[in-house]
Symmetry: D2
Subunit: 375 residues, 4 copies
């Protein structure tokens, strides 16, 4: 039985890979080893580990390696500490393959720790193109990886352009689409009421806008000003409720968080609800039923195009990324953001597009990994 | 004045980059910051730091980050510890650009520590192709780097194939050729006698064969058997003196060293002389005057082709690398090695080839870096 | 000139040592090297570094080494990372003596990093006795230290009991008393209004109670319940304003913070004001003018006895510590706490006691260090 | 069943604790968890892990945490990295008690990693007094420990002087005596011939002197000169064979090793045999049958007094330590050393003394630990 070790190190990572983990678990020839770490374990970021356990997974290792600070310096140091700790973990678990997803610093730690121990590396979501440091990290990991499971045709083309062996590139779409296909995405008020955010109880029956805006590491230090513009734009849309999700623990997230907190203290704005974390399924429901999304989360582009949810991408974090028709882009400017949101609200839902897969990625990738194991 | 921070972390690194460091130091618009670390500082690997100081350099930082063990695991951990320490160093030195060379794990640490702090990264010797884990690490660093100074036309082509922006690729050859061009390479007995190796005093006036054979990380665990074959081949060539240079501190070097030590104890072989380290200039002289070279050092391919020194490359560490006519390749087999060495001894010196530059790389790269700073 | 390197790694540390740092700086024979690190640098803990800079200090090094998580595990790891980073710092700064204060994990990191490099260690506040893991860490550091500056007679006796050389023990009191002696502690509304906490603007002219309650590492996991009792006690005292200071980043502070946040969300209590940080002088003013203090801060015992401020110590974190008459102790029980606070409010200010020094510690310790340097 | 986790991190550590490990393993109420790390795992120090495995132990964790360099700086860093890694190990193994031995930097790492996680710490060999940094580290660990198993009456007295709770101090002697009591210590030529050192095959039937000399961390930098004196003394005693054991990986061991290597190269001395490692039983045999011992190994004092083996302690590493009649002390001076060795050779074997126990320590300590668990 081949041991497949997946490293999951952030809320977003988990949402992206969950249905692949399930598929590996159900495959009789594969043994899933699950290593969780970094912000997954942190209270400040919503203890995503609890959701993973509720989903029935039993992590083999839980590893703390975030050096606190959320500066560029501490992000680099976290990467280094991650390598040290993950190297030990792999040395003990002795996996036959390691799986890593996307482009965060935890992904880089995983890639280095496995590559230097000659453990073949399976990389998901290579070949995508964005603005931000993520772009280089993603391509850099691609060069360390042995097998590449891309999420779109364009990504596949990009990898070929980078001189990657085409026989090692597979395009089954992104497993984060699977959750959209396999669950009812109707609004279930009772179910969602379990989330206790700050700002009181949202009324799920009424219209809301969803905001997810992360710091942009290449413009480190501007996060405060950037988020303030978005918040003012939302404040002006007073007939909508607003759901605000706290940012990832990247360099600069302190600035973003500070902006949110100070805005809240100063304006005590009405109908703003702040959350740390949702399960992938619940996030899918919330996304699907949003009147509009705003921020720079890649979920607006990926899951958003599948669902046809109108979204306004602010700034250049996702610049260059392949998008569907559901996306408008705006500068960090409260007036332009407001205008674009209004345009999207008027438009309403878009047609579904299957740029990033049709909802069967997890199952197909697991089968292909099984093929790889058998040679 | 622009601060250019070069990280030098192994004996080989230093030889490769020394003439570039000199050229940066002499450029009035550039300020050299020198960070040395890893095996450079270790007695076991010959205290290369002493040679650097004798050359007039004053390191800004000396950083220890090798986790002892020379296994795949400790190599990964050293990479992680390197990131942690180098990140702090860059944070303090605040360089405008960071320079890193080639493809070792220390190079990867440098690349990550600078990239995550948004410091533009200058990479030397990208685009080369070899067998070994070095190959992926090299390409991975290429994807993190901002500017690429390649050493050959083929390397330049390879980077273009990898979808690297051609305007950011420069081909001035490898600065390790500069030492060959700028110094007399005649044998200077008095000068070389300062090196006190193990095995007594070599007679520099008599013929010798030079062996440099490193462990191969992708076939970790085989180093002992591999070196034994080479040593037996050398033993059979009894009219030649043999110079043996100890291996780099890579995963597996313990095996190689053990092979050398046990061979020495068991056979007490005649005319074998063991050294840890030479200055780049002295190494160039020794290489130039060798009757033949054997092992897997990339210097046989690079400096060797420039000088026309006959060499036998053993095994697949350099597999795929662009070579000149001076190279024969052999399997790990004492008979084949002996045969190929004899063939090379019979041939004698080859014509010079300038595949990796004409000896002006240091100066030209420094000028180009100056352009980049202004541009 | 002798280089004296002080490591300051938490808000509390800085308050304790500030007047010693000033005195060293003013001594012509001593050169102050200041290393700041850990929570001093973190936004979440109020960026105490800004206050240090405003006081005119220029840190030689700023070092991040907190591994995020605030569990027992991450506290241990932070200690380890601190040793690694501080060892490099000392190696570069080459101090003649290192100063460390009290008993936190950052203190332990400092002690190990200096001891293993044969740098004589000066320890402040050894010999005190408390409940908590701090107690063993404090005594353990005592055994590593070369010179001991205690804060009270009892502490001096305790060190002698521990078989410490009496000639190396000095009792000049605690430099945290100096701030009380050298500044007006009258309430200065204008000055204090610069602090923008959460909960709106306190009215400094009206009566208030000060709460500082840290997690207790030996009863890790109980912090949430413990703080809730204190908060309910405070809530019942509705004619007083309440100043709540966030806890230190110890194992368990997440629980304490969570308790405070949830209490605030749930009850939206009136007249509660939340702050992250005050300068030592401003903290002294706030302490001096409090109607009563509650929690487990050692400042209630030290500065509190000097000022005669009534205080209720909750739980066993300070158990065993030498106290003045101004202290009442309560269990984690809202009724008992309320009762004890009321008793203290009725009593009002106590007579001053000089258990921990008379306000000249900084100057005297600096002079003694100078003596030590001279031999 | 109570889980007792022992951390063994050097050749000497293992010899000291082996019979305790056996006794724990045989106790039905105790479950042994064995963590090995640091130099135990290193080829350079003789792969002591192989001996541990041959003895039937199966380590639960193998942890690399030596930062290479053997300077004071890297020794400090190794301590820090050890804390990080051991903290993770304990977090995973969840022992009820942790056992640590003596006073090395690995011991300190163990003590901190367990103390900060509230795991009760059992310390062996506290209370002894020596010159060297080891002395403070030993006392410092004592203050972190919960239970103290001392090796001699004097050590017990010392702990009481340090204000340690007498009920927590137990004196059953040192388990390193057990090996002396439970095995035949007659010279078994066949058995010892399995060790292949450098220098050819020793003739075990003929007389030999045993040298074990470690670097002294408080006089870091002098190790080269110190060892040279000892080696010259030995060289002058030409009718004896000499067994030289390589030093521990402490700060300064590079200097000592260099001295040994250069001496060997320069003088090619006759009858010198160099070894990295012996099993505890074989070491006991070799020690017992030595005509004389020289160096600064604590085994000369402990096991030596039990066996009555004459020994010359060179320098001040063991200064202050309680010794038997079998010890002479010499300065680092070849003439004095030679003279003292000759005096000892003339004296021959001494009477046995049971200062450090009667050979039943392992069994008795295990029983007491069982009591503690139940109590």
């Amino acid at each position: 039985m081949n041991k497949i070790c997946a490293v999951v190190a952030s809320r977003a990572n988990y949402g992206r890979i969950k249905y692949l983990l399930k598929a590996i678990e159900q495959n009789k020839n594969l043994e899933l080893q699950l290593v969780v770490g970094a912000s997954i374990l942190l209270h400040r970021f919503g203890n995503a580990i609890d959701i993973i356990r509720e989903d029935g997974f039993k992590p083999n290792k839980e590893i703390h390696y975030i050096v606190e600070g959320e500066t560029l310096l501490t992000q680099a140091k976290s990467t280094g500490l991650g390598v040290i700790e993950l190297a030990s973990a792999f040395n003990e678990l002795k996996p036959d393959y390691v799986i890593t997803v996307a482009d965060r610093f935890e992904t880089m730690s995983t890639a280095i720790a496995s590559t230097y121990q000659n453990i073949p590396l399976i990389h998901l979501q290579g070949g995508e193109v964005t603005g931000n440091i993520d772009n280089r990290v993603r391509h850099s990991i691609t060069q360390l990886a042995d097998y590449h499971f891309v999420a779109s045709n364009k990504a596949q083309e990009k990898l070929k352009c980078m001189d990657i062996n085409p026989n090692r590139i597979f395009n089954y779409g992104c497993p984060s689409m699977d959750v959209l296909d396999k669950n009812s995405l109707a609004l279930d008020e009772e179910r969602l009421n379990k989330y206790k955010g700050v700002g009181g109880q949202i009324n799920w029956k009424q219209k809301y806008i969803l905001m997810v805006q992360h710091p942009v590491t290449t413009s480190y230090g501007d996060g405060y000003d950037q988020i303030i513009e978005s918040l003012h734009a939302l404040k002006s849309l007073d007939e909508y409720q607003k759901i605000i999700l706290w940012p990832n623990p990247d360099a600069g997230s302190d600035d973003v968080s500070k902006g949110i907190r100070q805005f809240r203290e100063k304006y005590k704005p009405d109908k703003f609800y702040f959350y740390k974390n949702f399960s992938p399924e619940d996030y899918a429901i919330i996304l699907n039923n949003a009147s509009c999304c705003i921020g720079n989360s890649s979920s607006f582009i990926r899951e958003g195009s599948f669902l046809g949810v109108p979204a306004v991408i602010v700034g250049d974090r996702q610049c260059g990324r392949e998008t569907g028709n559901n996306i408008e882009v705006s500068d960090y400017n409260r007036n332009e953001i407001t205008e674009k949101i209004n345009k999207q609200l008027k438009n309403g839902k878009y047609e579904k597009e299957f740029i990033f897969g049709d909802g069967n990625a997890g199952k197909n990738i697991a089968l292909e990994i099984n093929n790889i194991c058998n040679g």
